[in-house]
Symmetry: C2
């Protein structure tokens, strides 16, 4: 048995310093248990979530903090010295006013939260940084994940920077860009003969066998997922410490959407913002829209599907947080839509053309759904809205390449240029 | 004649609001002339540079400014309302302490300025944003450039965001990622049958014929190049308002290196930092090292070469600012080195492995040169050093792909994983 496992087996007796995090609570029946690297309640078999005992949290302290997600450490399950350990320092990405896209969509006041500026160019750097910080406190020393791309990049980079070993499992069919951007960090990248479901199942088995491996989205998932709250915190701070009226969030496992909601609620609870009402909208791709389908049919459970969409980073057919997404969207009076792959590509191009941002397919899903939600009257065009763009177009070039290229190929003289441009 | 041209023909009579910028000065003999979209002195045929009349510039005002390069607008040739116009809001990228790489290189205190976090993932977003702001004031309405990649991405994105037309000229052999990341913004991207020299020549001709086209790196180059000073400003602010002792900067045209120096000097002049001594080191690839060669041979002019290196973003065989780079490096007691393409790849991998940052080939050039400069005793291992990583690995994947891949492909069971990892 490893030292790490020893540490964790005495979890009940040890006080872990995870800042304001107080205990774990099961999402279904609210059973409470001490902080530990566990993700399912043995009482009701529902997912565990972090509950807090927040102290006094002041805007000035946050504003004087580091220019990364650690400025919000008093609202996250991380040790109080978290920024002293080498980490990728994600977050504090741009929130830009998007008047060009607003005009194209027919809405009044629109913002883009552009998370392509993160260290490995997706929001996954946020959740992985929180998972690593918690995993260090629990005594793990290997960072691991099953992934189809963005998470693989983020885990391999974060582990390299922290000087941890990493084990990243990907389907053997994964695209070149994602393989290279994982392999370059020199951890243990393994291609698995099988689809993502096979890889995921394998990860859960390995988490049981290797007591020093922290699978960020398996055994330390309750901590990992809290990292998405920082998207909500940053939006509120960047708007001048207030909540937007509407947000549109892409849905993969559904965790991000529920945590953006949790982030907004916690900001109100600790008094950092006025708890003004907001509506949360979910965005899926038609080729993998189990949550949108459940929403439209009025169900409170989600029927799994077999994904078939170019939005691979959202292609989770059995989304773990599906039911909680439905709760959140209903409670906040939002809606969930889905769009075709053609609309996804048009969403990517519309965002690029109007705002100069090149998003991955998931960003195309968000923009295209926003358009559809305005058109069908569900998104209020007069209410201030934030779209979450959570990944980078350079990683999903295959989705757009057949649609894009130079306007013309010309000879190297001014006449040829003028003719090509019709000037 | 266009309205834009009218505006500019009365340049001598009009007062352009370019903030603290006072006039243009020729680099060779110091001839002065009014601010205008011109780049070569007709007196001595040397490049024109912006001279300033700085007012009082205070740290508090900068710190209270926007989280982008516009916090430094009182030190840039841009209108005082610059941040009110839609722009990509570049800058404020990470400066991270790089203890892992420091250990690998055998130096004591090392920082990485990671400019991959910019909107299109290179430092070009900085210079383009300044060029666009000045071009708007001069009355242009089309943003243009010749480019082999990063600049094309930055110009097309900035123009889209500002709702300007763009004309981007690239060699017809350009790689897929760079073509796609330019075309997606829906400006006028033209592939030119010819090499980069042909494209460059064509751009200069077009700049003469189209009076409403601002070629960022041709007719508004004096303003454009000032954008690189923001790298220096950010490093100083992020270090707590002080200068580092050594910096390593990649050399393409050489403009960036000379402007980092200008930025450090201006910070001292206006009293934002103590004017402590610093040394500037230049980094080239062996397949295109005209400035390194001139430095080593003790020349004060640069002999053009025909580039042949994987570091395409640095492959300028006749660097416009070559002589000024030599001046700067000699004055600050730095040095210039060059490395092989194999060392460039190893530099990319070393940075990724130690710090979790995936740089483009230019970043590999910087890291590999830093290593060489330590080994040959030119870089002081005891002095605090900053390396400039100015572009993103996702854009130059071809350079590393044959070296990288999964450690193994395994069956989807735990035994296969354990065997592959030797556990």
């Amino acid at each position: 048995m490893t030292a790490a496992a020893d540490t964790r087996n005495s979890a009940a007796n040890k006080h872990f310093d995870l800042g304001p995090a107080a205990e774990l609570v099961s999402k279904e029946e609210g059973h409470r248990q001490p902080l530990a690297p566990e993700f399912v309640s043995l009482e009701d078999f529902s997912p565990l979530e972090v509950a807090y005992d927040f102290g006094r949290v002041r805007r000035e302290d946050i504003e004087a903090g580091p220019r990364s997600i650690w400025r919000y450490k008093s609202l996250l399950p991380v040790p109080s010295d978290v920024e002293q350990h080498p980490n990728t320092e994600p977050g504090c990405t741009r929130l830009i006013r998007a008047d060009g896209l607003a005009k194209a969509l027919g809405v009044k006041k629109l913002w883009i939260k552009d998370d392509t500026g993160n260290p490995t160019h997706s929001f996954k750097d946020r959740v992985v940084a929180v998972a690593l910080a918690a995993a260090r406190e629990f005594g793990f020393n290997v960072l691991a994940c099953p992934s189809t791309g963005n998470l693989a990049n983020a885990v391999a980079a974060a582990a390299a920077r922290a000087r941890w070993d990493s084990v990243v499992l990907v389907p053997s069919s994964l695209e070149r860009a994602k393989v290279l951007m994982t392999a370059v960090y020199d951890g243990s990248l393994l291609a698995v003969d099988g689809n993502y479901d096979d890889v995921n199942r394998l990860a859960t088995e390995l988490a049981g066998e290797h007591e020093d491996w922290a699978f960020v989205n398996v055994n330390v998932r309750p901590y990992y997922s809290e990292g998405s709250k920082t998207l909500a915190f940053e939006v509120a701070e960047q708007l001048g410490w207030r909540l937007p009226e509407q947000v549109v969030v892409p849905i993969a496992s559904g965790s991000q959407l529920t945590k953006v909601d949790k982030g907004f609620r916690e900001l109100g609870e600790v008094g950092l913002v006025e708890p003004t009402p907001y509506r949360i909208f979910g965005a899926q791709a038609g080729g993998c829209s189990p949550v949108a389908t459940a929403f439209k049919e009025g169900h409170d459970t989600v029927q799994p599907v077999r994904p078939d969409t170019i939005a691979r980073s959202l292609a989770i057919g059995a989304p773990a947080d599906g039911p909680y997404v439905l709760d959140t969207v209903q409670r906040t009076k939002g809606a969930i839509e889905d769009v075709t792959d053609e609309e996804v590509v048009e969403g990517i191009r519309l965002l690029a053309r109007t705002e100069g941002i090149f998003a991955e397919t998931a960003g195309g899903v968000t923009v295209a759904n926003a358009k559809k939600l305005v058109e069908n009257g569900q998104l209020d065009p007069d209410a201030e809205t934030v779209l979450f763009i959570t990944g980078d177009g350079l990683k999903t070039m295959d989705a757009v390449q057949e649609h894009l290229g130079p306007k013309a190929t010309v000879a190297p003289n001014t006449e040829a240029v003028d003719e090509a441009l019709g000037r």
